[in-house]
Amino acid sequence: MARVLLFGAGATGARIARQLRSSGVVDVLEVRDPNLDRLDRLVADLGDGAVAGRGRRITDEPAAVVIASPPGTQVGLARRAVHEGIAVITTSNQTSEVRRLLALDEEARYQRVPVVVGAGFMPGLTCLLARHGAREFDEIDEIHVAKVGTGGPACARQHHRALSSTGIDWRDGTWMRRSGGSGRELAWFPDPVGGRDCYRAALPDALLLVQEFEGVQRVTARQAATRRDRLTAPLPMLRPPHAEGGIGAIRVELRGRVGVERQVAVYGAIDRPAVAAGAVAAAATMHVLADDISPGARGLAGHTDTVGLLSTLAGRGVKPVRFEGISTFV
C-alpha cells in the first residue's frame, strides 16, 4: 500500500482519484486543488483514505505524484517531484509542456524514477495502442492518430487553442510545422461516433511517438472539429465550456511491413474523454507503484508491457477495439 499525491480535482483529476481509491493499491490519497469547494467535495466523496492538501509543495514523501492540473501548470510540479526522486504521472496534452516534460528524461534516469508523460486519452491510450499494435509489424512506417471530444473545461480550452495553433508532423525524418485547422481528413472512429472530419492542431502526440519508433517515416495527429469550431478557433471562447464534454473517441492507424507485405492496422476506443483519461492515468500509476515502468521521461508508447497495462485498463472499464476489414482513413 502506498501514499499518492494528486494535483487537480477537475473532471479528469476526480476520475483518477476514484480509480486510485478503488484500486486497492493506494492507502492514502492526498488531493490538492486551488478550488477549495471542489476539493472538499471530492475528498468527502472519496471517504476514508483521502485527504485534502494545500499548496504546490511536495510533502510527506509520496510514492508517486499524479498531475492532473490544467495544461501549462504541470511541468513545474513534475520537475520538483523528479528532483526529490519521486515517480511522476502527468496528463498534459499541451505541445510545449510535453516537450519540457520529455526534457526531464536525463534527471529522471539519474534519479531512477519514471516520468509518464501524457497519460490520458490522447495522448496516453493512443500511445499505448500504437505500441501494442506495433508488435505485429516487422517495421512501422506510419502512425496516424486522431481524436474526437474533450474532457473537462481545461481540456476544452486546450482543444480550442490547439485548433488555431501550429501543429507538428513528422515526415521523412524531419519535423514539419503545420497550420492548425488545415489538412482535413475524414477519419472513421468506433461506433457510434463514426466518420468525422479531422484537422491538424497543436497536438503533442508526434513528440511522444517518434522517439519510441525508430525509423518511422510519418507521424501525424489530428482532432475532429466542426465548421463552427474552425471559424471561431482564432477567437477567444465565446461561451464558457461545459463542465464535461460528451462521448469521445480515439483512433490509431499503423502502417508498416510484415515480411514482404505492407499492412495497415487500426485501433480505437470510445469513452467520455475525462473518464478514459482518468482510467489511463490511474492504471499508469498502479504500474508505476508496482515498479513495472522503467526510469526516464517518456509517453506510454515507451512502455513495453502493453498487455499488462491494457488488461488493467480493461478491468477499469476501458476496452479498446480494433477495426477488422478494410482501412478507413480515406
Binding site: W188, D191, G194, R322, E324
Partner: protein
Amino acid sequence: MGGGLITLIRRAFVAIGAGIAVAAAIRVRGHGGIPPQTGGWRELRGDDLR
C-alpha cells in the same frame, strides 16, 4: 458606356445564378462519398492481450 455596364452586371448575375444552380444540384443530388461497406470494430480480448 451605360449599356456596357448593364450588360456586365447582367452577365455577372447570370454567372452567379448558374453557379448557385450547379451547387444546389450537386448538394441535393450528390451522394457525398461511400462509407465503409465491410469490416467492423471488435473489442480487444483473448489473443490480442497475450
